[in-house]
Symmetry: C2
Subunit: 411 residues, 2 copies
């Protein structure tokens, strides 16, 4: 178990330590919820203000040309491609994750017209399932979602499967699926894959090309620190570009948007995954966070996130014992995403008490506390301090206070 | 023809004149492109900065509860309902117009499962057509889009029609369709209507209830001044709420988003038109513009927009003659939306020269110049001044200069 001095030494020797100064973090807060909404890069506020007052306020309609509004999805997509093992031209930043999921699964289904089974994880973040349920019902061709859990995935990929649509890192437990092995099995039976990287991008190793991934989607507001509801990304491997189609065929995805043709004709390449006008202020504000994630050495960032998670587990078990919380995440850091899930029957008031004490994590019903270890702004000492605060809350039964029992609308 | 003194008197007596001070307008610009992107309400910059630095930067994840992020689509929708003749609970502000069009047409088609014809205007803004083409292809049930032009609409609504999906004000000519008469014809044959209000909301009279409209969509960045790509709106009449379904069934549209159920169960009411996490900074920045449009007396705003358009046409014909430009919009202000379209074979360089001279309108291929008369920040003297500048450009052949010939990427 590392001593305090050793933990402080980890910070002193952290080659990523300089990135912390790029963020605006409220005083008195240890922010362990970057797995839900990353904090604000200082430049994001500058970009949001600039997008409003300069690009909109002064540039007005001219900014479509002069401020690069139309090109932004491609520009940010090309940058993210560097982080995720894709090529320029294979990714755009656009719309929201669920919409991109709809597009990607629809495109994959259309590429496998003779098959009707979609494999998904039943315990996945529900919006993925909901979106594909909506798609399947609407296709009206008898598509069937085969829900399995992680240990049953490989066996569920049989030769009637059209699409395997999975989230790389589980939103609750943080278990990591083996993207390469699952994709290989899918390809072996003639199926395609759609990977949701919401909890992966910026936190753990992702190499879309190495895994031979077909399609991928994800948000930019967790470990990419793009801002609340910042636009999501969508990836399609170049080998699918010529044949892929998706139903949300808006004018930004048209081969010649300003020709104002009556009939849809898809753009060449990844552009056909675009729909329509993007939320520009949110898009521009997302750029600094994406830039930071791309600028940081990704191998160092992944290693730091893993080491912080390992340290958190070790500190919790040392200071609180192994019985007080149930570890719901893989102990092996290589099997785990960027967050750690602890379960406790009184998880809700415990998290409320932690938040009041300045340690922000989150809660997922019925009993999960999630703690995210985002590598660019957290210090190893933050991890240790957070565990000390948790230890104090448990030792003094702080969480039993009545004010921590009332449920918020959004939990 | 009004004299300059009479035009100045119109401004002095304009009961909406005070609204101009709510906007930040760049000096030296007469902005006649609010039909494409409205200018910035000064408070929008404040809200964008606040959403970034305070809500995101300081509130972090807590702002889902404390800054009303989750409730914003409903709150803004309820406000807009006041402007558009709907009830609270019939409208949400969310996603982009094309996506909302997709949802609304899909929902309407599902409510008319035995019919396969969708009536649309062939010359409509293309993304509407593209989205419905994408929808029809993916439905794979033989839905057929019956493209007609305005004079053929009523006759095209026969008893095989499922949905009539039209734009209330034409993006190019600004002709207004008779929402009540077309909806009545649709209902008489058992069809449903989807109205796109992009060029109507905030510019001309809209009363969704009086017209018995079924569904409607529209953007908030034109006459509602919500900012570049600000979230759009979607309306569904209460009578359809219980039965309507749409395929983009994300978690924000779920009956209990935080129960994390595996299966989709739609929210009661308009909430089922929501998909997922919204671009919050853009959403918050849109609020001041929507507020201004709702706060202004709508009858006065509609009358002013119409009077400015009338004045523009009269001034152009007085100063440039009736032959130099072809009037492509209805002369009758009650048949016209908020903009006026003039055609000229050299429309592109003429518009570029106008923009350089500080009069910002826009150009639509092959020969249309559009001038938008948004009622909350323009003065009648701006209209007269713009025509004087156009007159000068034509008299001196300024537009023939080589620098005005090169095409921009986005026109």
């Amino acid at each position: 178990m590392p001593t305090r001095a050793e933990i402080e030494a980890l910070d002193r020797n952290d080659p990523l330590a300089g990135f912390r100064s790029e963020f605006t973090l409220p005083p008195g807060v240890i922010y362990l919820n970057g797995n839900s909404l990353g904090p604000m890069p200082t430049k994001a506020a500058v970009r949001a203000a600039e997008a409003a007052t300069q690009e909109w306020g002064v540039g007005l309609i001219r900014s479509w040309n002069t401020a690069g509004w139309f090109a932004a999805p491609y520009k940010l997509g090309d940058r993210l491609a560097q982080l995720l093992g894709a090529d320029a031209g294979e990714m755009v930043v656009t719309d929201a994750t669920g919409l991109n999921q709809f597009k990607a699964v629809a495109a994959a289904c259309a590429l496998r017209p003779d098959r009707r089974v979609i494999v998904m994880e039943g315990s996945n973040f529900p919006t993925n399932n909901y979106m594909v349920q909506g798609l399947a019902a609407f296709l009206g061709q008898g598509h069937d979602i085969r829900f399995v859990e992680k240990d049953g995935i490989l066996d569920a990929i049989t030769d009637d499967v059209a699409v395997v649509a999975l989230t790389h890192v589980h939103y609750k437990s943080a278990h990591v699926l083996d993207m390469a092995a699952i994709t290989a099995k899918a390809h072996a039976v003639g199926a395609l894959t759609v990977w949701d990287l919401c909890h992966s991008a910026g936190a753990i190793p992702v190499d879309l090309h190495a895994a031979q991934a077909d399609f991928a989607v994800g948000c930019t507001y967790k470990y990419l620190n793009g801002g609340p509801g910042s636009p999501a990304f969508i990836f399609a491997a170049k080998r699918h570009h010529a044949a892929m189609q998706q139903p949300l065929s808006g004018w930004w995805g048209h081969a010649a948007p300003f020709a104002f043709d009556r009939d849809y004709r898809p753009a060449e390449g990844i552009g056909r995954m675009l729909t329509g006008t993007q939320a520009i202020i949110s898009m521009q504000a997302a750029e600094p966070g994406i830039d930071l994630a791309v600028r940081a050495d990704k191998h160092l960032a992944w290693a730091k996130a893993r080491t912080m998670g390992d340290l958190f587990i070790a500190q919790v078990e040392e200071k609180l014992g192994v019985d007080m919380f149930r570890l719901d995440s893989p102990r092996d850091g290589h099997q785990r995403g960027g967050h750690v899930a602890l379960a406790h029957p009184h998880g809700y008031p415990i998290m409320k008490a932690l938040i009041e004490a300045g340690v922000i994590g989150d809660f997922r019903a019925p009993d999960t506390l999630r703690f995210g270890f985002s590598p660019l702004y957290l210090r190893y000492t933050d991890v240790a301090d957070a565990v000390d605060i948790l230890t104090d809350i448990m030792a003094r039964d702080v969480w039993r206070d009545e004010r921590f029992q009332a449920k918020d609308a959004v939990t």
